[in-house]
Subunit: 888 residues, 2 copies
């Protein structure tokens, strides 16, 4: 059998025959077999496509099968293909295993010609018939005859101009008849042959065009890029046309089996009487609610389908229940009523908001429709972002000025400011501000803290602005290249707008949109469904989820989101606080060890109180503290007046300070004097930090807090670095411990694996490490040779062109960087079986990366507080999938 009939409750195919029938054909067969009233039709299998490509024609036996199937359709519909009085019209659609751009899509109303159009006019009305014919000629000419559409469009425009109307629908039947004649002429001229009038010729032409489009260049290229095999072929679906626009006894509509916005268990949909499917979507006419639960303000007093056509509605209700039960998921369905007869055109899994996804999954599990495992898998972890941050009301109008990268989710509304200082000052007086910078640097931290949202011209998803903003849970749009800032004038240009300091804009962190003025916001509530789903997720996952947090506030927030410890506490962020930066700079610009130690002594109590606060917040949970990492230059003043002020405050010569700052500049700071290299050059810095950690730990222990400190040495490339600094760390800690002999505490001492060499030699490094933490941000930068501060100049193009499948800073590059992670794990554990291993790069909050970590035996992932629930759910996904794989 090569041609699979479906109709009237009978179907030759099944849902699992996608390879032969394509996705669409298999689904039509499935629906029909369920007893759903689907317009009858048949699917010509993919095998026929492959023959056609080879032979250039459809074989005679297949032609016979097609004719037989067509006969069965005629019988069900009570119409005849090509009949002058009661013509059957059909649609032709392609349908491969996977949906595929580049393939011929759809021809509607096939079967119309000079004669059959009359029959259609008789059974409906003239206007409808000629409009259908006109559309058919246009579509067929386009996708089958490959005739340019220009002349059709301009002819239609001329006609509308002559008649002084704006919409096609305003043209009367006579004009449409005239147009049909002209269109046929145009098509014949352009095509070089008469437009086919014989319906069978039309049908063979359309079938051939679908098969032929399989070999079109755009389709071939798409398949190559997406690893789709040329030998799959495409199927062709031929289906009887039904019309919702033949009169008042006709209608068309779309519905969801549950509310797609809230997830509430109500049947929900809209329809239009005497209309085509696209009219509902296009919104030219206000649709009517299908029932009372759909009725809302905007529908005013329109009657519902339930009221207008109770029989059809009752049938629809029975059908939707069957469909949802059958597919065990919320369905998005399309229906048409032709002369009071209900036809189902399509059913598919319905798109939904994150909130709805959570509610539907939890409800369906309670209803026994799906398992808890299914419920977990039904919610996309990434979508949880929507639930945790305020979002913009999708219904509110927005004047989009431009678009950057959706660097940190949420929405922010505020007055534009162009400097961190102004941001801080304005925020203190209660103003809500958006900080706009070419790019941010650690010097902007106080302004970023003060701002509602951050907008930058440069920088990718993992630029400084993006990383810091995500850590803070602040909305951020980065890399908005079209934005031009004129700092001198305190204004900026974006799109066609000139925006001055103080003007209000809105950022959409989920889309990257920059919007003029204030847009209405929706503040989410984490309902009971969310909590229930997360508790199910936690039952399944085994990998721990920690957070990257630098302040007690972040730690408290992350703990609320379910963090099971801190995986990365960056000590340097503490250095930027207004009261510390002067001392930090004095420490860095010290001319000798003595001066440096003096500055460090001043820093010690500040660091100690930071750590104590974090330890208290994380009572009973491990806290990994990374010793100083970034190049010292980052902390230094760079503007003239800052240098002057610093020199004055420190009693130093201004020229000397300037030279010192200059001498610390580096060509590639990312690969320069930073991380453990600082610890080895200036052991007193690390000693002071460890002393602060130890003193804080013993202090809070005295208060009864359960402290689990883990000290992490960054940027180790060779085991000797860790070996040496482990000693420095142990000595400094022991010195403090000696003053608290009544309390027993010794920290774990481990290292970041973030330099490729560390992964390659993890077996030797593991000798000196109590734990590993993969710093996949830097590991990605070095493995790819890609500075994340500089990627905006080419990475977006790269991704668009498919050179890179995705941004490797967003989702871990399993093929390349992943090899180093695997190597690090297996080599590390070859030396120390059971070595504790985690990840603290940005990837710790990316679902695909979390899955990768679970599969490779990591003990924990760590991510910014707002990503903790995402990681928890992603980890559960990975666990459930692993279980499914194991069980078969």
């Amino acid at each position: 059998m090569q041609v699979y009939f479906f109709g009237d409750g009978e179907a030759d195919g099944r849902a699992d025959m996608k390879n032969l029938l394509g996705g669409k054909g298999a689904n039509l067969a499935e629906m029909t077999a369920l007893g759903i009233p689907v317009p009858p039709g048949f699917t010509i299998s993919t095998a026929v496509c492959l023959d056609f490509v080879k032979e250039g024609s459809v074989s005679e036996p297949v032609q016979a099968e097609i004719m037989a199937a067509l006969g069965r359709v005629e019988k069900i519909m009570g119409k005849k293909f090509g009949d002058v009085t009661n013509p059957l019209l059909v649609s032709i659609r392609s349908g491969a295993r996977a949906s595929m751009p580049g393939m011929m899509d759809t021809v509607l109303n096939l079967g119309l010609n000079h004669e059959t159009v009359r029959g259609l006019a008789d059974s409906a009305d003239e206007r409808f018939a000629f409009d259908s014919y006109r559309r058919f000629i246009q579509m067929y000419s386009d996708v089958v005859l490959h005739v340019s559409m220009d002349r059709f469009a301009s002819r239609l425009d001329d006609m509308k101009r002559v008649r002084g109307v704006f919409e096609d629908t305003e043209l009367p039947a006579s004009d449409l008849e005239t147009l049909v004649g002209e269109f046929l002429e145009i098509a014949s001229e352009e095509y070089g042959q008469p437009f086919p009038q014989d319906p069978m010729q039309q049908l063979w032409g359309a079938i051939g065009a679908v098969f032929h489009s399989w070999t079109k260049k755009s389709a071939v290229t798409y398949r190559k890029l997406h690893d789709i095999d040329d030998s799959w072929g495409t199927a062709v679906n031929v289906q009887a046309m039904v019309f919702g626009n033949m009169g008042e006894d006709c209608a068309t509509g779309v519905a969801f089996t549950r509310d797609p916005s809230t997830g509430q268990k109500v049947f929900f949909g809209e329809y239009l009487t005497n209309a085509q499917g696209e009219d509902v979507v296009a919104g030219i006419r206000t649709p009517q609610p299908i029932n009372s639960s759909t009725r809302r303000e905007e529908f005013e007093a329109l009657p519902s389908l339930e009221e207008e056509k109770p029989e059809a509605y009752a049938e629809l209700e029975a059908i939707y229940k069957r469909l949802e039960a059958h597919y065990a998921d919320m369905q998005d369905i399309e229906f048409t009523i032709e002369r009071d007869k209900l036809w189902m055109l399509q059913t598919r899994t319905g798109k939904r908001t994150a909130a709805a996804a959570v509610r539907i999954a939890v409800d369906m599990a309670h209803e026994g429709l799906i398992s808890r495992e299914d419920a977990i898998r039904r919610v996309d972890p990434s979508s949880l972002d929507q639930l945790l941050h305020p979002t913009l009301d999708p219904k509110a109008p927005r004047k989009v000025l431009g678009r950057g990268l959706p660097a940190s989710p949420g929405a922010a509304i505020g007055a534009v400011v162009f400097s961190a200082d102004v941001a801080e000052a304005k925020a203190k007086t209660g103003d809500k501000v958006i900080l706009v910078r070419t790019e941010t640097s650690p010097e902007d931290i106080h302004g970023m803290h003060a701002a509602q949202g951050i907008l930058t011209v440069r920088g990718g998803m993992t630029s400084h602005a993006a990383v810091v903003a995500r850590g803070m849970g602040t909305c951020c749009v980065s890399g908005c290249g079209a934005l031009m800032i004129d700092e001198a004038k305190n204004e900026m240009h974006l799109g066609d707008a000139l925006i001055r300091e103080g003007d209000i804009i809105t950022l959409d962190g989920s889309t990257g949109e920059v919007i003029l003025g204030a847009v209405a916001q929706i503040i989410p509530e984490l309902g009971g469904d969310f909590g229930e789903l997360m508790s199910w997720a936690d039952e399944y996952r085994s990998v721990k989820v920690r957070t990257n947090a630098d302040t007690p506030g972040d730690a408290v927030l992350a703990r609320k989101f379910g963090a099971e410890g801190i995986g990365l506490c960056r000590t340097e962020h503490m250095f930027f606080e207004a009261d510390r930066i002067l001392v930090v700079r004095q420490m860095i610009l010290a001319d000798d060890e003595e001066a440096r130690r003096k500055a460090l002594e001043k820093l010690l109590p500040m660091q100690r109180s930071d750590f104590a606060g974090i330890f208290r917040a994380m009572d009973g949970l491990p806290v990994t503290i990374r010793l100083l990492d970034p190049p010292l230059h980052e902390f230094l003043p760079h503007r003239e007046h800052e240098i002057r002020e610093f020199a004055k405050a420190s009693g130093l010569d201004e020229g000397h300070v300037r030279n010192h700052i200059e001498s610390l500049a580096e060509a590639n700071p990312m690969l320069g004097h930073r991380g453990c290299r600082l610890g080895l050059s200036f052991p007193e810095i690390y000693e002071t930090q460890v002393t602060a950690i130890a003193e804080a730990a013993f202090e809070v222990m005295g208060e009864g807090v359960d402290v689990l400190p883990e000290i992490m040495i960054p940027l180790v490339a060779r085991q000797t670095e860790l070996q040496e600094l482990r000693q420095v760390t142990e000595r400094a800690f022991a010195k403090v411990a000696a003053q608290h002999r009544d309390l027993k505490l010794s920290p774990l001492i481990g290292t970041m694996i973030e330099v490729p060499r560390a992964a390659l030699t993890a077996d030797v490094i593991a000798k000196y490490a109590d734990f590993f933490s993969f710093g996949t941000n830097d590991l990605t930068q070095m493995t790819y040779g890609l500075s994340r501060d500089d990627v905006t100049s080419f990475l977006p193009e790269y991704i668009e062109a498919g050179i890179f499948p995705c941004d490797p800073f967003v989702s871990i590059d399993q093929e390349g960087v992943g090899q180093l992670v695997k190597m690090g794990v297996s080599k590390g554990r070859s030396t120390k079986p059971g070595l504790k291993i985690g990840i603290c790069g940005e990837h710790g909050g990316d679902p695909a990366s979390v899955k990768f970590c679970v599969e490779n035996g990591l003990d924990y992932v760590s991510c910014s507080p707002y990503r903790v629930p995402v990681a928890r759910l992603a980890a559960a996904h990975a666990a459930v999938e692993a279980k499914l794989l194991q069980s078969g």
Copy 2:
């Protein structure tokens, strides 16, 4: 047996018993067994050391063995240990398997006390006896009793002041006797016990001190750092003292079995009558030549040993011949004549200049003393640098002002200039100049070309200055951190000197010394021996040696040095020529593709003629051309006046140009928009370069030149990059080829493996590559996370502290980076067996790295022209060693 006697032609030990006897003990045994007159003695084995460390004492059976051996020594010497009239004195020395700092070194004259010193005075003279005693007390107090030396030294100084003399030797016997008394008092006071007078007690004390020093902290640390096993232990050598300073019938000297400067086959040495060994070395008295072939100007009319003591000389001559024949290498020997009796104190392989090494190796092979394989292995490839560059006369006085890194070998003398422009201008008028810069950038290239030598404040062995200078064969000292340049005043400070523009300095590229004034130079000649040795080397090696050359001149030079092709031709160096940089900048700062293409069109003929010149120079040999690699920012003007001039010359707005330049700045240019990323962003740049290559290739083919072009795509991280650019390259080449249908030529198209990810995914990348070339400079930077432009701030400290065993940019890091190279080779060839693979990083000229490349199956190494002979010899070394390993 635990105690191994040697003396009078008999020895219990042998040369191959180093593990038990240590290096020194085994050699003394070997010499004695050869019948060489070595002062008799015995070696206490390393096993005794381990017992001593455990038990804290020497066991009685071993004590008995020591006494027996001591008896044999007494018998041979005709003296008795502790005897009042004719006392035997001994030396005590440690001797482990490998020489090891931190161990107790030497005690001489042991056996002297109040009584024996009289016996010594009777048999020699009083002065000698008390001076020997004084020295013994000092040495013993220091290394055995661990008494501070300060009081001894100040007492000696006092005595000299009182007597109004400057040298110890000017003090009479009576003063020395007084000093002895005082020294004994000081030692007793400081030690807390009387200084041991019993010779046996002295002996046990010294033996114990040697063994004890095995557990000293400095020795333990040294062992840990150098992977020396604690269980090796050290041996102790006890040997009879002989004296060359007991009278006119005594003498002491050193000699080489061949001339260590030239390698000439003549016996060559110096001696002093009535003197100690250190007197010859110290140069207080002018030594005498041992024979006429040693006689040179500076010896004037001094009689030779051959004339003064013909019998001893005849014996010495017989001995040196036996030693050279036995060790089959040039020996450095020390001898003492005590009362006309010749004693050999030491023989070891003699140090020699590179020229001598070559001559000796070739001569010995001709003499049949060694094989050609041995001859090859006798010459250190690194030392060839000395032969290829002018060197400073080692005898010429030099006032060293400071020291940097020996970044590019050779010597340079010239007037200091502080800018590339001045360097160029002065060089044009015939002046020889040294370019001094804080660091160099591509903008200094013209000045570097013009200079005799280059001196920089910043930058390591692979900084821009170092790499470019080595490529040019220009002497360079980089990273001279003590140098302070005051550009405004056109002067610099180094050490205690103020040097103004125009002052003459000398650079020693082999030591990194910066010297005031002009130092005499030696211009090397590549004699026949060198050529002969290199031809032997070429017979053994299988790996090809290519060169990194960017100009026809470099190519010609490298070919003279034996290069078998070009492994890396950097197209960007051509861009800096004065007549091109304007066009290059117009190309980079083009506002659209059209403007860029216009600039590229102007560049095309320039590039074409460069390539044609290189192809002609490399007739018959492969030429690998790398397409544009560095970040575009490097080519741009940065100083205000340059920007102004550029804008004017290009008819562009100055502000616009400045903004454009600013927008191209990157945080980490090394990891930014460069390499193939440029080729993908601006395909027209690569198209133009490939067109120039193709046009040049067909042009010279027409002249009958055999062209083998290989086009190399840099910085590939993912296969898609190469896949895409391979197509760009093929298309551009084919376009030119279509105009030359009579000539058949298609280039190889390959890629650098320089990003860690490329090595990790070499199997996929190999699909699109005809060859791989490891760019180990960048691969090292990224694998280590180490920017070579920024390493001076910590790498020297790192190496000194043993954190890194060596500079990974000088010798390839086999443990880390080497893993990626191995992976790249095996994965690449798993996809394409026999894939051509080379290396074009700086490592290609480093012997250890060349060996690594040979061992890992690379087809070729490529290095700067002056390193080609080094690589050829290193490759032969590797081949010979592999052969030796195979044959057992």
